[in-house]
């Protein structure tokens, strides 16, 4: 292969490094009104009165919008396919505020300083209500967070707002309760995960203007421009045909930009005033007023036979969606559907639970999307079971995990909000990943631990993981390829490059198929007027779904070129030979440049354009084994990550360097969730960790060595054998590190993040028990 499975630099990398204007805020109109939001100081309150008179007197204040300015159209910001599996429980502005940082009203003014002064002059009277600050107390609490009659579900998702339940679900294969009774060895344990923040470098940013056609044009740092356009139109009741959403370069998303954030208010300001406007979230707003990962509690019961066969898995999940139910059902279901099939030999499996509303910052989509939470719980519990069985963790997994050609009944039962799709694992190199990681981390000579010095124990731990590749029969991508004079191409895709490099790998797929150099493919992505439909960058779908669409469109373009060449040579298509640059038939020869110039300037004049789409009929999972080596300081409880070995099966790596970047970026974010990123609220519901000093993501100094390898694997249904790679990297670190800590000092930490404080406390307790 010429272009695929080759490392080339990101096509946008150099320009971005040179500081070319490319990001949303670079492209705002210079005279934009600044839009800022007055945010709630209370976790739950009814707004009785907003006195904006003083603020309106301030020179330079253009407009103040409150809930009274909007029709009560409930919607969801989630940014998913339509109809959404998330409850419609949000208004552009509401008379209730449901978390600290929720929107009260918004000011548009000529400068940021005037905007801020105006915010201070607005006097709001609140009736403070009893907040729910603990998700375990939420269901059937006296306080009801969504009592408004307009809140509704789009189809049954178990939405019971009077009970503070945003969604619920239950499924069972076999009879888990009976099988637990029959099992020789049983483990029962609860696990807790925290509300991790995305910490993308570019904060949420959007701007708007009315163009010369009297249409609303937005630039937005979004992962879902097509959904943004639809949701804006439905909610503001402004015709879809008069909205254009452009996604320029985006400085990271990780799921945090799947939903809508500033788009509604900026559009409303521009539509009311006719003037351009813009909004850039402060870092505090990103923390408090966008959304986080869903915190969850898992109550897991595992049953196994004496000879080490896992018989049954029972899993109850309580998830905290915060003030609004974005992705409430789907993240919670993925905590089962992208974790439980790993152990497909069980006789029975049950997965059930609820998603509760609380008065915390809402939760939403985040790389890993439930799978990382579920992986921490299940892979920790598996190690507990293995310990009780007296077995080796690798041997147990090898015996019980899913392998090439096998399936799990869960694939057919559980989808994302709906039923799933049955499939066999046509490409599954998990066994290779397990064995290769074992060698690379030097498990044999390290497990369970070695004493490096008086107070340092070096240990290893591991976990296996799977993800998906898009949502079958829902996620749709399409691509248009246009041949230009002189023989280069435009590739137009709805797929959304948010820094992960999708424009580059889609160009590589097109170049491979067309036989040309990647530099001949000029990619334009995500402009709702110019590029074809794509659901957006989420659910690990771009390489597989959009990649397949590009492959099909390129194949069609190639056929068109051959047909035109046959016409020009006056021969039959079957004798044309075309290598991507030169077209040959018998003794005749012509380059693609000559053919295209002929087509556009001289003879048989016509524009060649091909468009194809792709919707997945299955979601082939990428797999990985994650092995960690840690040094645990028994004096301080501090954990140093010595090496993190990832062996990944993502099918063909279209661009090995970008694929490695995806895996390693995921690993570091996973390490952050595992041991650094503590989320603290004070007793009145205020997020304490709302800045980058208090909220600690790992720095370069925390990451010592990452060892990343890819298994040789080929997924027949993927473009050139590729599966997804965007999320799989994040899943294993919490469980692998928790297991390594257990292997080092024998304490099992069941809540994230695993801080030195927790480790030392458990070590002390354990010493007390021994005495």
């Amino acid at each position: 292969m010429k272009s695929v499975n080759k490392t080339i630099p990101s096509i946008d990398g150099k320009g971005l490094m040179m500081g070319r204007p490319a990001f949303t805020d670079d492209l705002a109109e210079k005279n934009s009104l600044i839009v800022k939001v007055l945010r709630s100081p209370h976790p739950f309150a009814k707004i009785l009165n907003i006195d904006k008179s003083k603020a309106l007197e301030l020179e330079g204040v253009e407009l103040i919008l409150t809930h009274e300015d909007f029709k009560r159209n409930s919607y969801t910001r989630a940014g998913q396919g339509y109809p959404e599996p998330s409850p419609h429980d949000k208004f552009v502005l509401d008379e209730y505020v449901r978390h600290i940082g929720d929107e009260v009203c918004c000011v548009a003014a000529v400068t940021k300083e005037i905007c801020e002064e105006a915010l201070e002059l607005i006097k709001v009277e609140y009736e403070v209500l009893n907040p729910i600050l603990n998700f375990e107390d939420a269901i059937d609490n006296k306080s009801i967070i969504h009592d408004e009659p307009e809140a509704h579900e789009m189809f049954p998702i178990g939405f019971e707002p009077k009970r503070n339940i945003a969604a619920s679900y239950k499924m069972e294969v076999g009879n888990t309760e009976e099988d637990v009774k029959k099992s020789d060895v049983v483990i029962k344990q609860s696990f807790y995960t925290q509300a991790q923040a995305h910490v993308m470098m570019e904060p949420h940013t959007v701007n708007a203007r009315i163009d010369y056609l009297n249409r609303l044009v937005l630039y937005s740092a979004t992962q879902t421009p097509i959904h943004v356009r639809r949701i804006l139109s439905q909610t503001l009741e402004f015709p879809l045909s008069r909205i254009r959403v452009i996604k320029p370069r985006v400085g990271g998303g990780f799921g945090g930009k799947q939903a809508l954030h500033g788009e509604m208010l900026v559009s409303a300001v521009t539509l009311r005033t006719g003037k351009p406007s813009k909004m850039v979230f402060t870092r505090k707003e990103v923390f408090e007023s966008s959304y986080s990962r869903h915190p969850m509690r898992f109550d897991i019961t595992l049953g196994a036979s004496k000879d080490g066969m896992l018989e049954t898995i029972d899993c109850y999940v309580l998830s905290d969606t915060g003030a609004y139910g974005e992705h409430a059902l789907t993240v919670f279901m993925v905590a089962g559907s992208k974790v439980l099939p790993l152990y497909n030999k069980v006789k029975s499996v049950r997965f059930h639970g609820h998603v509760a509303y609380t008065n915390h910052t809402p939760a939403g989509a985040f790389r890993g999307y439930g799978a990382i939470q579920g992986n921490f719980a299940l892979e920790s519990a598996i190690d507990m079971l293995v310990d009780k069985l007296g077995m080796d963790p690798i041997e147990f997994r090898d015996k019980n995990m899913i392998k090439q050609g096998e399936t799990s009944p869960i694939f057919a039962i559980m989808g994302e909000g709906t039923e799933g799709t049955a499939m066999n694992m046509e490409s599954c190199e998990l066994e290779f990943c397990l064995n290769r990681g074992y060698e690379l981390i030097n498990w044999k000579n390290t497990y369970p631990y070695i004493q490096v010095s008086k107070n340092i124990r070096r240990s290893v731990g591991m976990a296996i993981a799977m993800q998906g590749s898009g949502i079958p029969y829902i996620d749709m991508g399409s691509a248009t390829i246009k041949l230009n004079d002189d023989g280069f191409y435009n590739l137009m895709v709805g797929a959304t490059d948010i820094g992960q490099g999708s424009d580059t790998i889609l160009a590589q797929i097109a170049a491979e198929t067309l036989g040309c150099d990647t530099s001949q493919i000029i990619v334009y992505s995500s402009d709702s007027d110019l590029t074809p439909f794509d659901t957006g960058a989420y659910a690990s779908s771009t390489t597989y779904i959009s990649g397949n669409a590009v492959y099909k469109a390129a194949l069609k373009m190639r056929q068109m070129i051959v047909r035109e060449a046959a016409l020009a040579f006056k021969v039959d298509e079957s004798i044309i030979e075309y290598d991507g640059t030169t077209i040959k038939a018998d003794d005749k020869e012509m380059t693609i440049n000559e053919l295209s110039n002929r087509l556009y300037y001289n003879e048989d004049q016509k524009q060649l354009t091909s468009t194809e789409s792709y919707v997945g009929t299955k979601s082939p999972p990428p797999f990985m084994a994650g092995y960690v080596m840690i040094d645990l300081d028994t004096e301080t409880g501090e954990v140093k990550i010595v090496d993190y070995v990832s062996v990944v099966d993502c099918g063909t790596t279209i661009n090995p360097s970008l694929a490695k970047g995806q895996v390693e970026g995921g690993i570091v974010q996973g390490i952050g969730m595992a041991i650094y990123e503590e989320v603290l609220y004070n007793s009145s519901g205020k997020l304490v960790t709302n800045n980058l000093l208090n909220y600690k993501i790992p720095t370069r100094k925390e990451i010592n060595k990452l060892t990343t390898e890819f298994a040789k694997s080929y997924e027949d249904s993927g473009p050139y054998g590729a599966k997804s790679v965007g999320e799989i990297g994040i899943d294993t670190p919490p469980a692998a590190i928790a297991n390594a800590i257990y292997n080092a000092v024998g304490v099992r930490i069941t809540s994230l993040p695993i801080t030195p404080e927790k480790i030392l406390l458990e070590m002390k307790k354990r010493e007390g028990e021994k005495r």
């Binding site: 409880g637 501090e638 720095t699 100094k701």
Partner: protein, 279 residues
């Protein structure tokens, strides 16, 4: 009306300060954070401020008579690179914040800010550093433990400014500085331990111990140190429990966003124990 003054010389600065009360800013690494407003807007200084960052007459480092003398404006990153800087101070600076901040931060700022978590402070205590404080008509030299009175409280008067820090160069055979923070860069310490000994022929001639972030000021107890001077290393190690008991009452950390008091206390004592056991 708040005044912002950028003086051209130390005497001009002191002249202003003799007339009005000013907040002194050199690198601003503490004050810019304490006074921060919205993102991308200037910090909200609500009192008179004097900026000394360009005063070259405070920007020096020199070695004189077995002491190093550091001007108030001299950034810590350069102090770290100065060849005569004591090894403990170099260790403490290496793990401070991040390179960008270290190019602005000063030791005088660490003293003036008087946070119990100030990274260089335990080192100054262990070295019995002296602080030269000047005003328009006066000058005095005060030991570090008398300069810092409590959390954010110092003995420096309204018209006074730190001119230089005088650090005696001492002979140690083993030193240890351990900072326990949430991560390795850009983190304020949960607790820190500083230890230094001078052992000759198996006899502990000198031992100095300091703890950061576990009380209102840095904890250094000379009376405890004196009790154990003159012992052999083995004798010292055999009395480890007694040493831990001696220090225990002075380690009174708090629970806050960074950590909790039980962890801080336990870890501080663990680090002391480790230091003594590894002599």
């Amino acid at each position: 009306m708040v005044k912002h003054i950028i003086p051209n010389s130390l005497s001009e600065a002191l002249d202003y300060m003799s007339k009005d009360e000013y907040k002194i800013v050199s690198g601003g690494t503490d004050l810019m954070v304490q006074k921060r407003a919205w993102a991308e807007t200037p910090p909200k200084f609500d009192q008179n401020t004097i900026y000394i960052f360009n005063l070259m007459d405070l920007k020096y480092i020199k070695k004189e008579n077995n002491k190093i003398i550091i001007g108030a404006n001299y950034p810590v990153e350069k102090i770290k690179d100065f060849k005569s800087t004591p090894i403990l101070l170099k260790k403490a600076i290496e793990i401070m914040a991040s390179p960008a901040l270290r190019n602005l931060a000063t030791i005088a700022g660490n003293i003036g800010n008087a946070s119990p978590a100030g990274d260089t402070l335990p080192i100054l205590y262990v070295h019995d550093a002296l602080v030269k404080i000047v005003s328009k008509n006066n000058s005095r030299i005060v030991p570090i433990n008398e300069v810092i009175l409590s959390v954010r409280k110092t003995c420096i008067n309204k018209d006074e400014m730190i001119k230089e820090i005088i650090i005696p160069i001492l002979e140690f055979t083993k030193t240890s500085f351990v900072k326990v923070g949430g991560r390795k860069a850009d983190a304020i310490s949960k607790t820190s331990f500083t230890g230094a000994v001078n052992v000759k022929d198996g006899i502990v001639k000198d031992i100095r111990i300091a703890f950061g972030a576990v009380n209102v000021t840095v904890v250094r107890k000379k009376e405890i140190e004196n009790k154990y001077k003159g012992l052999s290393v083995l004798e010292l190690q055999s009395r480890i429990n007694e040493i831990l008991n001696d220090y225990e009452p002075f380690i009174k950390p708090i629970t806050d966003q960074r950590s909790n008091k039980d962890y801080r206390k336990q870890v501080s004592l663990n680090l002391l124990k480790e230091f003594i056991n590894n002599l």
